[in-house]
Symmetry: C2
């Protein structure tokens, strides 16, 4: 066990340094160093790959799988086997080709989006799809389908069929709510200066327990979170939208960071010491964004922080702005009700692209049809359509579903939590979130990778993946 654990600790250390270098690049690095940083990231990725796939790991595992060990060590060995086998199935040449195609693709996408020229991006997308298929085939040992193998990278154990069923239901059940919302009047958005936002966000972060001992909050173009250790959680936000987006986004990133922060310390420097999947990670960010930040009782707290920072707004006005439903073309700024529909669209299209049921040339038309069907909108340009997201340009197929699964799981977890510890209204009105943090720590966070998505949801909620909780959460917004 000693040799395996030493190797896993080494890999955890190197991955922490990868995380640090990535964070630094987006938050601190002088831009002129970009190409050198790409070399550095390439080098460390190569070393991680070599150390993660070396044959001696197989020998250690074979010995350890026959031993009587603790439950924790069984989990370590089980995940080490899974990771080692998956990593070894991808030939080094293919990995290098993928990496090159993804950085080329991203570059072409940026230019194509700026010029609103889908044709300039199409060949790179075609190439990424071909390579994703080749990659998926390597991992698809049991013949469960290429798209399934791609999902496994982000959400091991989640089934394409489950997604199809859940997203089908979501599309159908949300459609009448979108119709209903369309008939309501538009809610005015608050106009808040960057400086007021910054002060309000800093106060909000202090309320939820963010201190300088083990957290950072910085500014970056796109909000994200990164962690180099359990006690080093770094979040970013932005204050330049002129609204209150930073309040939502900072609590969103706090949800991601708190997950990593509350993993069982026993799992530090093992292969189990990170969040288990993209869906569960997104459920944690969405829980704080949707169920805390958009809670009518918590609006009092947010309004208070904004007031102290110099922007007067009543709690009901603020809440109305935070939950206002208005179908729109852009995913990242979508409201909580229509957001998952953007994901349903992307899931349907990427599944069809990978399976070969949709050609790259036909994507824009299919996008237009989907937006009309799901959101009732016309798409005026590809820049506001299928060119809006970076994911496919980077070859990330099978990633989008986690965004909607996060919404569904967050709603299920919130209901399970309130069943156990009672409604949160009174405490949230006072800004008290410790019991929420404690429940999440106990029922979700501490496991790290010891449970996969479905097993974790079942243990925490007593039920499987489902859409009802989320529909109960968003339905009121359609009628506001």
């Amino acid at each position: 066990m000693g040799k395996l654990r030493a190797r896993l600790a080494e890999l955890a250390d190197l991955q922490a340094l990868q995380m640090l270098a990535g964070w630094d690049q987006l938050v601190m690095m002088p831009p002129a160093a970009a190409s050198e940083r790409a070399h550095q990231m390439g080098t460390i990725a190569r070393i991680v790959h070599d150390h993660a796939t070396s044959p001696e790991i197989g020998e250690w595992l074979a010995e350890l799988e026959d031993l009587e060990t603790s439950e924790l060590e069984r989990d370590i060995v089980r995940l080490a086997r899974r990771d080692w086998e998956r990593a070894r199935r991808v030939p080094t040449d293919l990995a290098a080709e993928l990496s090159k195609a993804h950085s080329d693709g991203q570059e072409r996408w940026q230019a194509a989006r700026a010029a609103d020229d889908y044709g300039a991006f199409a060949p790179a997308l075609e190439r990424n799809i071909e390579l994703a298929r080749a990659y998926g085939r390597c991992l698809d040992e049991e013949g469960r389908g290429i798209y399934q193998s791609l999902i496994d990278d982000f959400d091991f154990g989640l089934r394409t069929e489950q997604l199809r069923r859940l997203f089908g239901e979501l599309g159908q059940r949300l459609a009448p709510l979108v119709e209903e919302a369309r008939e309501r009047s538009v809610v005015a958005k608050p106009a808040v200066s960057a400086d007021v936002q910054r002060r309000a966000v800093e106060s909000l972060m202090r309320r939820v327990g963010v201190d300088s001992e083990s957290w950072r909050l910085d500014v970056s173009t796109h909000p994200f979170s990164a962690s180099t250790a359990r006690l080093d959680q770094r979040m970013t936000t932005r204050y330049d939208d002129g609204g209150v987006e930073s309040l939502l986004s900072s609590l969103h990133e706090f949800g991601h960071a708190l997950y990593e922060r509350q993993i069982d310390p026993q799992l530090d420097r093992t292969n189990l010491g990170t969040g288990t999947s993209m869906s569960i990670h997104e459920s944690q960010s969405k829980l704080w964004e949707n169920h805390v930040a958009r809670h009518p009782a918590f609006a009092r707290v947010l309004a208070e922080d904004l007031g102290a920072a110099g922007y007067e707004i009543t709690a009901p006005e603020l809440h109305a702005a935070l939950v206002a439903v208005e179908p729109s073309l852009i995913r990242v700024s979508a409201d909580p009700l229509t957001y998952p529909l953007h994901i349903v669209l992307r899931f349907e299209l990427e599944l069809a692209l990978i399976d070969g049921d949709l050609g790259v040339a036909d994507l824009p038309a299919a996008w237009h049809d989907g937006v009309r069907r799901l959101l009732g909108l016309e798409v005026p340009s590809d820049a506001l359509g299928c060119l809006q997201d970076v994911h496919w340009s980077e070859g990330a197929f099978g990633y989008f579903p986690s965004y909607a699964m996060g919404c569904l799981i967050a709603a299920s977890l919130w209901e399970a939590m309130e069943r156990e510890i009672g409604p949160r209204d009174e405490q949230l009105a006072r800004g008290e979130v410790e019991p929420v943090k404690a429940w999440l720590g106990q029922n979700v966070h501490r496991y790290g990778r010891r449970l996969d998505t479905v097993g974790l949801v079942e243990r925490a909620t007593g039920a499987g993946l489902e859409v009802e909780s989320f529909l109960r959460y968003v339905s009121p917004f359609a009628a506001v």
Copy 2:
């Protein structure tokens, strides 16, 4: 050549990431992550060591040394041979022991200094000296002495005998100047708020060409500079001393950073693409600190920047404060004239400690004697004496000399430069430093590690290491 260069590029990338992780730890990292960061640094150091010492490098070198190659490639092979052989001479166990003893030593030193309790530090110092001797013996293949092998780590090719001669001369020739200075009246120090200092430093940095494209300036407890790539130069300073220390220290760090910034781009990601030695590095920082920041003509520029930031002072007043000589106990805040005497003391003592001519128990008394002889002061406590510096606690023996060598070399380079491109007075009075940067780039920086300390000084100045230039530079300060 391809294989060797690929390995050297990989090592350069990993060393850049080490540099990044070190910078981050001192400037950005939440403090609670310290022990995890130590693990991460340990892991990457181990990997660097493995990749730098692996036997295949020897095979590649043996083949390449027989080939006709370009001059650049000959230099690459020559330094690769030197580095590989030195790294392989140190057994892995000893390297691990050294690393552990250095971190233990640093911890004990911090406590001992805080408690002014030399006895609590002595055993750790004893251990560091024993290990430094063992380490030095491994590297001392040609029997040139243990201290010499330690110097080679910081300043390859600099001889213990040279240091003894230069520092002996320095001690003797500076003594009467210290006496002379002691008879002058004390110059009042400017009292400048942190905010004014920050604005003045930012303006000063813009003047010398620091932009956000490829530079950063942050705050840290002790000023330092770090570089993750030629186009990513990061400096730190501090604004809490209430004086104008930050103007000197920011130009000092700029000198270090400019050196790395102006290395020939051809040397990027090779084993030659960094500063060649600690002495040359320190000569670059001292050149900007002593010869630019303390230049009477440049005082006009600094006074202007301070004035614009809200602190009125005349150029002569400011210059007088920047060059005021006042013998004191603490090295890091010493004036330009007495600074090298602090180093002469440390050189004499560490040489005696390593050679066994001075016992650890006798260090405090020897320190007191030395301070009396060189600076004419009484040492009231070990905290203000032999416990003041971190270096020996970290096992860094042979490092101190570079601080004084930097002063000497800076003065020699400055005179050589003025001989070639004329006196700088008029241009410095207007804040024009481009010709200085260009001359340094051409005559010092571009070589990277292609020339060692002595060879570089000889090529740039036409003469060897000497004390006269420095004495010409500081003599006037004694009489101010």
